[in-house]
């Protein structure tokens, strides 16, 4: 993999170049991190009913061992020189076509290391939680097979040293998400949601495959090492095109505008799946792709502007949608959209933001997994009701869920010292340093986040009791609360990764360094402004939902804004009008053309032959004597012909 001599790498002053040492010692175990969950998935999915009894523990075990391995590898990486923290492992040559060779290589560097810990750590916790959550589902073993497949695909995605390898993981994640969102496929809504997620992801996949193709045409290779070494030799137009194609890919996977509509429907899947999709895998893939391709994005201002715009729009859209949803999971899903918007926005800010995007991704992974699992716990205690208008006053019935959820809540709205404060605050600060409008979007988003999360909190855990008569809320079993406690601890403490600038320094060799721009009001002043905006959001939510009684039925006499937010800002209607209907019209036209013209030719020929044969058929009347006459006339004809030939 170390195709690039280090002298060439040293020539670069811009984006850092991928030049990895080959794996030895403990790093030769790198492949096991991916192989274990993949093996788990294979055993669970091929083993059939034989593995029903212990299958879920195998699923938990493979990811747990992967996590331990990731920890060992991480500390081994910390132990190396800071300039020598990129390790690659050559597995085998995947395929060769002419001069083009794709190796199946794994690249382990500071960025992959962080992702490995997040995916296997949070993923492992979600696995453990699922043991309890899916206990009464007779297809639990299959569920764990899919979960393992999901984790293995995501690990492939973040470890691949090649855009083609990334594509392999990318598609694997798409497949696993399809299988998991549609896990309860007997529900038509779940089946439709899975299909929708798959189809919309496919649009993003076109971006990745075209982007990879363009990278290959431009650089003659798709490996990160070659591309990062030669990125500055490509024309800026090409780089912008590659950047925008990769952005399209990221939009699909990370549910960014305009490909965001699948995310809310994806809530049809079991809740641990939502947690996995939203925290550790899937939606983080788009952010990863942009940060990993920093050697391209750093060189193209235009593509970065596109990324920032997408991030801004999505962070506001997601937040607004989150305000109006009564379904607790959909409110959280809107919040995920919004938070991923923050990450994309940060990634679009260039070298100043890449590390912050990853930092927010980490903290978001902690608190969003925490809250999704908390929502699952609430549903577990209320007969799988997801309507927040049927909750209320759950904090007495479910104290552990309440406390852990509250920590996640404080983290997401950015109350110091919880995790979200550190990451979101830095993003807002950097956004303001870059552009005032972008910063304002991020700041307003923080206020709306505070509003909808407070609303969710109040409607679920506080206010008066609005339970269905047959519901007796109870705390979830320990196998579910222990993951909640672990994630709550991470949500509370995860922000300290930024103390002393550890996370930014750690990622600097991958994403490059930058000069800090200082704001006129200073970092502390910015934090204070953000906190004031957050407090305003909380206060508004308190006036609407804390002081007044929450009706059990959603009010119908609402403003046009609420109606728009309930309809997910008409994302589906937009797709319906702009893509689906013209598509249908075109297809109907094609179908008519096919039916009348193409089929006309084919069927016309056939019916002509059919008509002729029905005429000839009459000759076959079954009477021997008429056949004999035919034979005789034939013989006579032959005879006459012979005579004519002989005597002419």
């Amino acid at each position: 993999m170390s195709l690039v001599p280090s002298s060439l790498a040293a020539l670069h002053s811009g984006a850092p170049v991928v030049h990895a040492a080959s794996a030895d010692g403990v790093f030769s175990l790198l492949w096991l991190v991916v192989a274990l969950p993949a093996l788990g998935a294979a055993v669970l999915l091929l083993g059939g009913r034989r593995t029903d009894r212990w299958g879920h523990w195998l699923g938990v075990g493979t990811v747990a061992v992967s996590f331990l391995l990731s920890l060992v590898l991480f500390f081994a990486l910390v132990g190396r020189d800071s300039g020598d923290r990129q390790v690659s492992q050559h597995l085998w040559t995947w395929f060769t076509a002419g001069k083009y060779t794709v190796n199946l290589d794994l690249l382990y560097d500071q960025l992959s290391a962080v992702f490995l810990l997040l995916i296997t750590g949070v993923g492992g916790i979600i696995h453990l939680y699922s043991v309890g959550y899916m206990e009464h589902d007779e297809r639990r073993r299959r569920f764990f097979g899919y979960l393992n497949l999901f984790v293995a695909s995501m690990l492939t995605l973040v470890l691949a040293a090649d855009y083609v390898g990334v594509f392999l993981g990318w598609e694997g994640v798409g497949l696993a998400s399809y299988l998991l969102i549609g896990f309860w496929q007997y529900k038509p809504s779940a089946a439709a949601a899975a299909k929708k997620a798959f189809v919309i992801n496919r649009v993003g996949d076109i971006g990745l495959s075209l982007g990879s193709a363009l990278i290959f045409v431009t650089f003659g290779s798709t490996s990160f090492a070659v591309v990062s070494a030669n990125a500055d030799k490509a024309s800026s137009g090409t780089l912008t095109a590659i950047g925008l194609l990769l952005l399209l890919a990221a939009c699909g996977k990370s549910a960014q505008f305009p490909l965001q509509t699948w995310l809310l429907d994806a809530m049809e899947g079991p809740t641990p799946v939502s947690a996995l999709i939203h925290a550790a895998t899937m939606v983080t893939a788009g952010v990863y792709l942009i940060v990993r391709s920093n050697f391209i994005f750093s060189l193209t201002e235009d593509a970065r502007t596109g990324v920032v715009i997408v991030g801004c729009i999505t962070l506001l859209m997601g937040a607004i949608i989150g305000c109006a949803k009564d379904d607790i999971k959909k409110a959280l899903a809107g919040s995920t959209m919004s938070q991923i918007g923050y990450m994309i926005l940060a990634a679009g800010l260039g070298p100043a933001g890449y590390a912050l995007a990853i930092f927010h991704l980490l903290t978001h992974g902690f608190f969003k997994a925490n809250m999704f699992l908390g929502a699952g716990s609430v549903m577990h205690g209320t007969n799988d009701d997801v309507n927040m208008r049927h909750y209320g006053a759950l904090q007495k019935a479910m104290p552990v869920t309440f406390v852990t959820f509250a920590i996640g809540y404080l983290a997401i709205i950015g109350v110091p010292p919880f995790a979200g404060f550190w990451s979101k605050d830095r993003i807002i600060e950097t956004a303001f340093a870059d552009n005032f409008v972008v910063g304002l979007c991020a700041l307003v988003g923080a206020g709306i986040t505070a509003f909808y999360m407070t609303r969710l909190m109040l409607m679920t855990f506080v206010t008066e009791q609005r339970w269905e008569p047959d519901v007796h809320p109870h705390e979830s079993p320990r196998v579910m609360t222990i993951p909640l406690i672990a994630l709550a601890a991470l949500s509370a403490l995860g922000g300290f990764l930024i103390l002393n600038g550890w996370i930014t320094d750690w990622l600097a060799p991958v994403v490059g360094t930058h000069e800090e721009k200082s704001l006129a009001i200073g970092a502390l002043g910015m934090s204070l402004v953000t906190l004031v905006v957050v407090a305003i959001g909380i206060a508004i939510a308190w006036t609407f939902f804390g002081r007044r009684a929450v009706p059990r039925e959603a009010p119908t006499q609402v403003s046009v804004f609420t109606r728009a937010a309930r309809a997910e800002l008409y994302g589906d209607a937009f797709n319906e009008e702009v893509i689906v209907k013209p598509g249908y019209t075109g297809i109907r036209g094609l179908s008519v053309f096919d039916g009348s013209f193409v089929d006309g030719i084919a069927e016309g020929t056939a019916s002509a032959f059919g008509g002729m044969s029905s005429w000839f058929r009459l000759a076959q009347n079954g009477f021997v004597r008429s056949y004999a006459l035919a034979v005789l006339s034939g013989a006579a004809l032959v005879l006459l012909a012979l005579l004519a030939v002989n005597f002419s």
């Binding site: 076959q620 009347n621 079954g622 009477f623 021997v624 004597r625 004999a628 006459l629 005789l632």
Partner: protein, 99 residues
């Protein structure tokens, strides 16, 4: 002795056989007409053999007889079977194979 009367006789016999095959419905009669046509051709073969002074025509006539004998065996068996199952020896009744 001229061959002409024999050839004329042969032609007459063949024509009678032809007409019999084409016009009669009774399978036995049709069968006899076929035999008549075969024998007419035999007569012609033997006549030409004699006229040309070699044996080839007579040998061909023997072949025709052998084939006719075999045909009689098979044909009569078929007619018998048809008669047994359908209680009729009419060739027009046995027209089901067109389906």
């Amino acid at each position: 002795m001229s061959a002409t009367p024999f050839i004329v006789l042969s032609a007459i016999l063949f024509t009678i056989g032809c007409l019999g095959v084409l016009t009669r419905r009774n399978a036995i009669v049709v069968f006899m007409s076929v035999e008549l046509m075969l024998n007419a051709s035999n007569l012609a073969l033997v006549t030409f053999s004699r006229a040309n002074g070699n044996l080839e025509g007579q040998i061909a006539a023997f072949f025709v007889m052998v084939v006719a004998a075999a045909e009689v065996v098979v044909g009569l068996a078929i007619i018998m079977t048809i008669f047994r199952t359908r209680r009729s020896a009419s060739v027009d009744d046995a027209s089901l194979l067109k389906y």
